[in-house]
Amino acid sequence: MTDSDAEHFPLLTDAGRAMLKRLREHPHAPRYTMECGNRVTADDLRRLQAFEHFLRETPPDWPEGALPTWLDAYLEHAYAQVPAYRRRGPRPTRFEDIATIDRGDLSRAPWDYVPDDVALDGLIVHKTTGTTGQILRVPTHPVVSSGSFPLLKVVLERFGVTLTAGAGQVGVVLVGWQRKAFTYPSVTPQWGDAGHLKLNLHPDDWRDPADRARFLDDLYPEVYTGDPVAFEVLLDLGLKTRPKALISTATTLLPGLRTRLEAAFGCPVVDLYSLNECNAVAVARAGAFELIQPRLYVEILDPHGEPLPDGERGEVVLTGGFNFMWPLVRYRTNDYARRIWRDGRPVLVDLEGRAPVLFRTPAGELRSGLDVTFALKHMPLAQFTLHQASDGVLTLRYSGAMARPDQLRAALLEVFGPDQALELVETDLFAAPGEKMKQYIAD
């Protein structure tokens, strides 16, 4: 085992080592761009097993017209241990009087939301811009990252899909489609070190574009996760193998694509509503988004922060989640929906805020929002939006005192080509109060 593998895969088994070797040395494998692993320790593995059990045993709901019973203890801990909440003084009597937070708060001082009583040994940081354009560094932990696997497994059972991948097999393959992306092979310790991959389906990542289908068919993964743009590409690869399910995240999955994917792959295509700040929140089933996490309270607020009655449309606001490194209390997501009750459980309908956007270069090529995100990743921006008018002209609106326009321009022209018409606007105003801020818009 290399030093790097020891760090990335603390529990690596012989089967896991063989799997990594296969994924790395496969004749049709892509050029991986980074090293990444699960970082799961023996103690983490026990916690993950307990988490899966907890997910199965605890329904993600609360009584209509009341608050969840776990909420009081959760808030007690947050107000005692989390500097950002403790600074406010005594907790208001009523939950509805607790001040909300938004992405700006988390973005400015993410460390202020890390509880005093968590050890920093296992801390890891996910950096993201998501779909709102505010750079966010999310303090998290390998148990939380790997918690996405049991969550996925339990969610798929709602669709009659049982995941069984184990040693020597490939479990989840996460596909993207970007000009540049972080890609890596990994293994999943709670599944007997089954293979796990993050891949970019963009042809530039492969020695031969036809290798994509050869590689994936040979691996025969149990599940693909990805965004709708990547799934469009996956559809065109002409794969011979069929996964048990496709999981779409990040942006809205439109019904037309879902139908085509279902027909082509003959499996459930599941739309997951997930946020970097809080992991997977809900899954689309029978016309509504059903909640997933047992300890996540979802409410709908008006622009002034007041709770709206069930059925009224407003901003989705979250309290709870399983990222114990970053407890959220009334976090405004900038996503909009209505909360209704179905079969005695809260569900979200008319969820808006994750529309996929594709831009065009002057040469007529397509670029995804993630390409732009990647290009601007290292710029000192507080927030930005990119709008492409119908004549192709791009307008970047941004805030960030240290940002240099010449660097921003160069980064975007790297993505769109030197002939791209581009306007830069420095501003602090990205959306009117109560309106969703859209990071990427193409007319």
Binding site: R87, T93, L123, R137, A250, H304, G305
Partner: protein, 208 residues
């Protein structure tokens, strides 16, 4: 059994809000007997413990135990302690406002009356001076509201917190102490985050 519908958001909203002006005026109009000398040992004019007891009952209880009221009937008291008793008395007058009544606020009110914030405020200003000073009136009112878990009508929770931090030297001192205490931990977390951000993260099953 009659099943009542859940309270409407409007009603619940109304219940948590108090008119700041009403409370400020109430302090300004404090009756003279609330400035009388508190009983210390065998001398004094007002039994503060008895007033506290009655106030807590008016707020909806629970009834305090005798031990919980000992703090308000000391055998001896220096000037600082006497000021605290006078301020507790004044706060009881404030808590007598009709909007506070029968709302199960007794436990929170007792915690405030025996807590450090009132003690600190007493160290800064005596009750008669507080009543004469608009900013101090607002400070006591806002500290009391927050301790009860309430806030002024027309303000969001964040606005109420900001205004309290501006007007209250007790709150400013608390925030200062809080930031001092939190500084080392915040630095540790910041440094750990900077260190970890330079490394790669751990893998996830799906993109968020």
């Amino acid at each position: 059994m009659i099943l009542l519908p859940p309270p409407s958001p409007l009603l619940r909203h109304y219940n948590s809000l108090m008119q700041l002006e009403t409370l400020l005026r109430r302090i300004a109009e404090t009756p003279p007997e609330f400035f009388e000398a508190p009983f210390v040992g065998r001398s004094g004019m007002v039994h503060v413990g008895a007033v506290v007891h009655d106030t807590l009952i008016e707020l909806g209880g629970p009834e305090p135990a005798i031990e919980q009221l000992r703090d308000f009937a000391p055998a001896k008291a220096d000037e600082q302690e006497r000021r605290r008793l006078r301020l507790a008395l004044l706060t009881c007058w404030l808590l007598g406002e009709r909007g506070f009544r029968s709302r199960d606020l007794g436990a929170r009110a007792l915690a405030f009356l025996t807590g450090s914030e009132l003690r600190e405020l007493a160290g800064l200003v005596d009750a008669p001076k507080l009543v004469a000073d608009p900013d101090r009136r607002e400070e006591l009112t806002r500290l009391t509201l927050r301790a009860l878990g309430l806030r002024p009508a027309g303000e969001t929770a964040a606005q109420a917190q900001d205004r309290l931090a501006t007007v209250s030297s007790v709150e400013a001192a608390r925030l200062f102490r809080e930031s001092q205490a939190a500084e080392q931990r915040a630095r540790e977390v910041r440094e750990a985050m900077a260190r970890k951000a330079a490394q790669e993260a751990a893998d996830k099953a799906y993109r968020e």
